[in-house]
Subunit: 427 residues, 2 copies
């Protein structure tokens, strides 16, 4: 039974209680959110772990990290290191995007070396194995694909990006209306190629009920992959973007009816003035289920700093209801991220999430911001470190600091800042 089905039966699970505690809500509030689909709790029934988080429905915005082997760099040890950094830096979930030689072993390592929600993109493994087994990726069968999905669910995956919201109809419309960057999703492009080569409907769309049955058996959260997400500011809120949301909405309804926990994935590149509309339409068309975004990248021209473009768009999207932010590292658009990129990616994205979370005046994030400000006024280094997102930076800075008010004008004479502090009763 999925968390959603339990919630609908009025049952408050241990996971719901943990989420309630973490977020400062009553367990009943969480149960009601899970029952109607506004909140998901990614937790595969076969996977044991203690860090549980809820996503969506007014809870704090959460952060996701990415790792995984590839043909270009197939180093499982490095990926385990990255995974540990992702968790240490404070991400709530990760996705293993492996396409290297031994994807099964990498997945086992990922699941055993982490204590946060684990996600994956099954079409990667299916495509790779089809290329090996059948000579060409486009020779992949529908059964190949569903077998991989089932294997990954049974292995313990808590959530899974499945590109179901892509169909022939959508691709034909996209061709007719045109855009700058047609398909930037890797999984989306694999499936688009498959569909055209075979002149067949996307199996993940055509056999959606089959998918739901598999996910339901392990309570793996369906993350409806955004195969035709805008990959350029110029494509945001175009016809393909909106039609993609509509197909996602149609499938979301079916997942909700089946009692399968579901969230919807989104762009990608979205300029700041589109964000309120993009968020509103996703929530409206997809029955208020959680929105999981990659970005939003607020500008296209910042390779090397896409963690920053992404945090600008992510924070603003979080303010307008985005629930789960997939990190971007400085390596985005440049190459494969290393361990340092991964750490920066999580920390940057946590700042974006925090900028949205502090808007709940009186909430945990707000109180933490307040505690930091008070510690600064009181020159209390210990409390500053305690409240910093990246504590290591601050510890190092304090260690290197000379005793100074930062202006050194007055040396040992009466400092005007102290005169002012006296007036305000702070000295």
């Amino acid at each position: 039974m999925t968390q959603m089905i339990k919630a609908r039966a009025g049952k408050i699970t241990e996971e719901m209680e943990m989420v309630a505690l973490n977020e400062g809500f009553t367990p009943e509030f969480i149960r009601a959110g899970v029952a109607c689909g506004k909140i998901v709790i990614p937790k595969n029934k076969f996977r044991k772990r203690s860090k549980i988080c809820g996503i969506g429905g007014g809870l704090d915005v959460k952060v996701n990290g990415l790792m995984g082997t590839s043909g270009d760099r197939d180093d499982m040890e490095m990926e385990v290191k990255k995974l540990k950094i992702i968790e240490e830096a404070g991400a709530h979930g990760f996705m293993d995007l492996s396409m290297g030689e031994d994807i099964d072993t990498m997945r086992t390592l990922s699941l055993t070396n982490s204590n946060i929600a684990a996600g994956c993109v099954p079409v990667y493994q299916a495509a790779k194995e089809a290329a090996e087994k059948r000579g060409l990726m486009v020779n992949m069968t529908s059964d190949d694909l569903f077998e991989v999905i089932e294997k990954q669910c049974q292995a313990g995956m808590d959530f899974m990006a499945v590109h179901s919201a892509l169909n022939m109809d959508l691709l034909k419309i996209l061709k007719k209306t045109g855009r700058v960057a047609d398909v930037v999703s890797r999984g989306g492009s694999l499936l688009t190629g498959w569909m055209f080569h075979n002149d067949k409907e996307n199996p993940l769309y055509a056999e959606f009920d089959r998918l739901l049955e598999i996910l339901k058996a392990t309570d793996t959260v369906l993350s409806i992959g955004d195969a035709i997400r805008p990959g350029a500011n110029a494509d945001s809120l175009d016809q393909a973007h909106l039609r993609g949301l509509m197909v996602a909405g149609e499938l979301t309804k079916r997942a909700l009816e089946a009692g399968v926990q579901v969230m919807v994935e989104g762009p990608g590149h979205v300029p700041l003035n589109h964000i309120p509309t993009a968020m509103l339409l996703q929530k409206r068309l997809c029955f208020e289920v959680p929105y999981y975004i990659l970005g939003f990248l607020a500008t296209d021209v910042a390779p090397g700093y896409d963690n920053i473009s992404g945090s600008i768009g992510g924070a603003f999207a979080g303010m307008h209801g985005a629930d789960f932010l997939c990190y971007l590292t400085p390596a985005e658009h440049l190459g494969l991220p290393n361990e340092e990129d991964v750490r920066i990616g999580v920390e940057t994205t946590r700042i974006a999430a925090n900028a949205a979370n502090v808007l709940k005046r009186g909430g945990f994030a707000w109180n933490r911001d307040l505690a930091m400000s008070k510690a600064r006024v009181a020159r209390n280094q210990e409390d500053q470190v305690k409240n910093a997102i990246n504590q290591a930076n601050l510890v190092a800075a304090f260690a290197a600091q000379k005793p100074s008010h930062g202006c050194s004008v007055c040396q040992d004479s009466k400092c005007p800042a102290d005169v002012a502090a006296e007036f305000f009763g702070l000295s």
Copy 2:
């Protein structure tokens, strides 16, 4: 005669023509903006330089960098290096915040080693010299202060942060209403101490007409310093913040009447949901003159990443009308920035400015984003580099790149991405 007085007389100056060309407006549009005060063009009549920018009134959001010696690190050579990096990285202005031993020589070096708008904060030098000359900073006289201002204007300063919008009334209200971090501005805290110690009104407020005469003589843009800016999210839009804007508005009106170009400085720490109101009120209360912001920092808890907190708030503020973004470096709240911090600070802040500038669909920034996206689709490395904010990152990444589509699934066989590209007519 100031640019504003010339504009009011119907004269289109060479500087206005340059701004018009850079921004894609007619010279007459710029003239009208300068005449009414919505646009400022920082350009001291005694300083020769060729890079001219306009700030405000619907022009692109601009970026400012900071440098300067201090008692803790008094290395003029290093500061010149930082200044060159600031300009190379694409800032439109800089401020020399020196408080080291030989401020006059540093200023000369700053002015001769740069070709962008130069700003300063005269109370720093005045305070330092008073401490030397009169034993204590609080023994500074009003004449000491105005003599420094005049010296700096005559030396060629294009704009100047003067903390005139601080008066006794405001400080008493601040004491009565209270906030988390009373005075976080360094100049504000120096003046607050001076006012209480001497039980006298702030000379920069009391003798505002004297200030205007000095600025007018060299057409130095007055930047009304925000001495009591919110320095914590918890203080944003509090009574002191709003009253500070009101005093700034009162003085703005007087500057406009005197024909002195003027902009208003702002926070500091402002949470995302306050930004539209903070921007609207500044524009409303200060007669639509340009708003120059430090941040806005969207969250307080990110020391080491405050360039990112600042770019989140800065981008959103730019969307709502902020005109000039003062950079934040990763060293903010930690210590003095080094050359690398300075470079990152400018580049980060340019991303924030760009995120706001792309909202003008069809404008220069939008077209650059579009060109980047098209170059990505076409795998045109040369055009990607041309349009990147930080070109060095991209050049290095391309040099290190193996020939690959980034997934390496198909090796030499037919790539699904190519199949898809064929369908969309891109191959």
